[in-house]
C-alpha cells in the first residue's frame, strides 16, 4: 500500500523514470523482458502456469496498468474479452444489461441498437431476456456477456481464459465469432486448453515467472508449457528386488534420443539382472502425462513374447513400437517387472525418464490412431438434380 502512495506521488511530481528500474523490498517482476510485434490477422496464444504473468500481460496491453520500463504501442481499437458481463446489475433485465455492458465495452448506443438482434440471437436466452438477470443460471449470464462482447469489431482483441464455459453448441458459436473477428484483427488469447491453442494460434508465447519465450511453432510451445510442470524428483523404486531393470535407453532409428516424432519408431533397450532363475516374467512400460494420468501401456504378455532370466546372468531386452501414436506432448515413462499372474512385483520404477513426442498438431485424446484413409468423389448422377 505504501509503495502505491509513493508511485502515485512520483507520477504526480513527474519524476523521470529509470530505463531499468530496480525492485523494492518485497516486490517481484510480474512481467520482464517481453518483446514482440503482431499484425492484423495474427493470432498469438499466451500460455504458461498459473501466476506466470499472463493476465498481467493482458492488463498492460489494454492500458490498465502502466509498465515500469519499456513501452507498448497499439494501433486501432482495442477490445477485450476479459470480464464478461461487466457492469451487469442483477436487478435489471437482460435487455437493459446488454446496453450497460455494451456501453462499458465502448460500443455506442447507436451501434448497440443496430446490433441488438445479433446479440440477442447469439445469447439465446429466449423469454428470459426481459426478466432480471439474477434469475439467470450462471451459464446464461456468461452467454449474455459473451454475446455483447462478440459484437465488438476491434482491431486488437484480447481474450483471457473465457472460452472454457458453455455447452458444445455455444462453444462452437464462440469459436466462430472469434475467428470472424480474428480475420480483421490481431488477437492475443490466454488459454490452458492446449488443443484449442493448437487450433487457433499462429504463434505462441510461453510465460513462466514473468519471463517469456516466443515460438513460431505451436507444438514446440506446448512442449515448453508441459516442461514447466515437470517436478524434479527422485526416481521412486519398489519391488522385492529379485529381478531389476538396468541401463534403460530409448532410441529411434538407431539414434539414442528422448524426443520422437508422432508416428515414429520407438525403441527401448535395457538389461534385466536377477538373483534367481525366473521362467517367465512380464515387463510393462507405462506412459503417463505430466498430470500423472496413465494413458498407454506396452508389455510383452499381451504381445505373447515370453521373457525369462537366469540367476546372475544378464538378460538384454529390446522393445520396439513401430509407430508411436501418442498425442504430441511430454510423457513420463515408468517400468514394472512382475510375474505373469501379477502376484510378485520384482521391480517398479516410477518416472524413470521423460520422453517428448513432437507433432504438427496437438489434438485432444492421448492416443491418436494412424489409420488408412480413402475418399472418392462419386460421379454425379442425373437423379441427384431433383
Amino acid at each position: 500500500m505504501w509503495y502505491g502512495v509513493k508511485d502515485v506521488a512520483a507520477e504526480i511530481v513527474g519524476l523521470p523514470k529509470d530505463r531499468n528500474p530496480g525492485l523494492r523490498n518485497g516486490e517481484f517482476w510480474a512481467v520482464k523482458d517481453v518483446s514482440f510485434e503482431l499484425r492484423r490477422g495474427d493470432c498469438l496464444g499466451l500460455i504458461g502456469p498459473n501466476g506466470a504473468g499472463k493476465s498481467t500481460m493482458l492488463k498492460l496491453l489494454s492500458g490498465l496498468i502502466k509498465p515500469d520500463g519499456g513501452s507498448i504501442a497499439l494501433s486501432g481499437r482495442v477490445g477485450a474479452l476479459i470480464e464478461l458481463g461487466a457492469g451487469f446489475n442483477p436487478v435489471l433485465t437482460g435487455r437493459e444489461n446488454i446496453f450497460v455492458n455494451a456501453a462499458v465495452l465502448g460500443i455506442s448506443r447507436k451501434e448497440t441498437e443496430a446490433r441488438l438482434d445479433e446479440i440477442v440471437d447469439f445469447a439465446d436466452v429466449g423469454d428470459f431476456l426481459d426478466t432480471p438477470v439474477q434469475s439467470y443460471s450462471s451459464g446464461m449470464q456468461v452467454r449474455l456477456g459473451f454475446a455483447v462482447a462478440a459484437s465488438l469489431r476491434p482491431d486488437i482483441l484480447l481474450i483471457d481464459e473465457v472460452l472454457a464455459v458453455g455447452d458444445v453448441g455455444f462453444r462452437a458459436k464462440c469459436y466462430n465469432a472469434i475467428s470472424r473477428i480474428a480475420e480483421n484483427a490481431a488477437v492475443i488469447f490466454v488459454s490452458h486448453n492446449m488443443p484449442q491453442i493448437s487450433r487457433l494460434a499462429s504463434s505462441c508465447i510461453v510465460m513462466e515467472h514473468g519471463s517469456a519465450r516466443w515460438f513460431d511453432h505451436t507444438g514446440l510451445a506446448i512442449s515448453e508449457y508441459h516442461r514447466c510442470f515437470e517436478t524434479v524428483g527422485s526416481v521412486v523404486r519398489a519391488g522385492d528386488g529379485v529381478a531389476r531393470i538396468h541401463s534403460l535407453r530409448t532410441s529411434s532409428e538407431g539414434i539414442e534420443t528422448k524426443t520422437f516424432h508422432y508416428g515414429q519408431r520407438f525403441c527401448a533397450e535395457f538389461n534385466i539382472e536377477s538373483s534367481d532363475d525366473i521362467e517367465s516374467l512380464v515387463v510393462n512400460f507405462g506412459f503417463s502425462t505430466v498430470g500423472d494420468e496413465l494413458v498407454a501401456e506396452c508389455n510383452n504378455y499381451i504381445s505373447s513374447f515370453p521373457i525369462g532370466t537366469k540367476a546372475h546372468h544378464r538378460t538384454r531386452v529390446e522393445m520396439t513400437i513401430p509407430n508411436l501414436t501418442l498425442n504430441p506432448g511430454r510423457y513420463k515413462v515408468s517400468a514394472l517387472l512382475m510375474s505373469p499372474d501379477m502376484t510378485r512385483h520384482f521391480d517398479w520404477l516410477r518416472h524413470i525418464m521423460v520422453i517428448e513426442v513432437l507433432g504438427a498438431r496437438v489434438a485432444s485424446a492421448p492416443q491418436q490412431f494412424q489409420a488408412e484413409w480413402n475418399a472418392l468423389v462419386a460421379p454425379k448422377r442425373p437423379e441427384d438434380d431433383e
Partner: protein, 284 residues
C-alpha cells in the same frame, strides 16, 4: 468498420511529461464518457428502487419525515437558536437539504468507484463516466428534495425574490464543493478502506461547525470557526438566494466557487494519473 489507425502508446514515464497529449486524452475521454455515464446513472437509479417494496416512495419519505419532525419541534419551541429572517423550520430545512447534498457529493464518488471495482480492474473504459454518474445521482436526489421544499414555502408563506434564479448556481456550488473533496479522496479511498468510516465521522463533526441549524452571526470561538468553514458562505448564500434575496457574503461565495472549480480540475487530473497505479493494487 475501423477508425483510421488511432495510435496509443503506454510507457513508464509520467503522463505529466507530455501535457498536451494528456489533456487531449482527458478531454476525449470526458466526451466518450457521456453515454456510459448516462447508462450507469439510469442503471443505479432503476436498480435502487426496483427491488424495494415501496420503490420510488423511498426517495421522498426521508425528507418528508425530516420536514415534519422539524416543523413539530419548532412549534414546540424545543430548538431555538438565534434570529432568522425566515421562519425557523424553513431555515433549517433548506440548510439540511443543502447539507445533505454536500455530504452525498463527498461520499458518492468513492461509493461508485467501489461498486465498479471488478470492472475497473479488468476493463479499460473511460473512467470519468463513474464520476459523472455519481454526480448525476447526487443532483437527482437533491432536486427531489428541493421540489419538496415548495409546499413548505407555501405553508409558511415564504416569499421568493428574483434572486431565486441564481439559486441553481448556489446548489451546484455546494455540490461542487463536496465533489472536490469526494474526488480528491478517491485515490486514498481505494488504497485504504478506512477512509469511508473517516468521512462519516468527519462529516458528522463538520455538521455542527456549519450554520445549518443555527445562524452564522454568532461570536466567540464557534463564530470564528464558522467564518473559516468553506461550506458556510456557499450554504448561507444559497439559502439567501432562495429566500430573502439579500446576499450577506457574496465575496467569500465567489472565492469558494473559484477555488472549487480549480480544485475540481486538479482532482480530475490526480484521478487520472493515479488510477493505473491504484488498479495495479486492486485484486481482480
Amino acid at each position: 468498420m475501423t477508425d483510421v489507425a488511432r495510435k496509443t502508446v503506454y510507457d513508464a514515464q509520467s503522463l505529466l511529461r507530455r501535457p498536451s497529449i494528456l489533456f487531449a486524452e482527458m478531454w476525449s475521454d470526458l466526451l466518450a464518457s457521456r453515454e456510459l455515464a448516462w447508462r450507469l446513472f439510469v442503471r443505479n437509479l432503476s436498480a435502487q428502487y426496483r427491488q424495494s417494496l415501496l420503490g420510488y416512495v423511498w426517495l421522498v419519505v426521508p425528507p418528508v419525515a425530516n420536514t415534519a419532525l422539524w416543523v413539530f419541534l419548532s412549534e414546540q419551541r424545543i430548538v431555538n437558536v438565534g434570529h432568522t429572517d425566515i421562519p425557523y423550520p424553513v431555515y433549517v430545512l433548506i440548510g439540511s437539504v443543502l447539507w445533505f447534498g454536500f455530504t452525498r457529493s463527498i461520499t458518492e464518488p468513492i461509493t461508485e468507484i467501489t461498486t465498479a471495482k471488478p470492472m475497473l480492474a479488468k476493463i479499460n473504459f473511460p473512467r470519468e463516466a463513474l464520476i459523472i454518474a455519481a454526480g448525476g445521482i447526487v443532483l437527482f436526489e437533491v432536486l427531489v428534495r428541493i421540489v419538496l421544499l415548495v409546499p413548505v414555502f407555501v405553508l409558511y408563506g415564504v416569499q421568493v425574490t428574483p434572486m431565486v434564479i441564481l439559486a441553481p448556481v448556489g446548489v451546484v456550488a455546494i455540490l461542487g464543493l463536496g465533489f472536490v473533496f469526494g474526488v480528491l479522496l478517491i485515490p486514498i479511498g481505494i488504497l485504504y478502506t478506512d477512509i469511508q468510516k473517516g468521512i462519516l465521522v468527519a462529516t458528522q463533526f463538520w455538521f455542527f461547525l456549519t450554520p445549518v441549524m443555527y445562524t452564522a452571526d454568532g461570536g466567540g470561538a464557534l463564530g470564528k470557526i464558522v467564518a473559516l468553514n468553506p461550506v458556510t458562505p456557499v450554504l448561507v448564500t444559497t439559502r439567501e438566494m432562495m429566500t430573502t434575496g439579500d446576499l450577506s457574503r457574496p465575496f467569500s461565495f465567489g472565492v469558494v466557487v473559484a477555488f472549487s472549480v480549480v480544485a475540481l480540475l486538479i482532482g480530475w487530473l490526480l484521478y487520472r494519473l493515479a488510477l493505473p497505479h491504484l488498479i495495479e493494487r486492486m485484486s481482480a
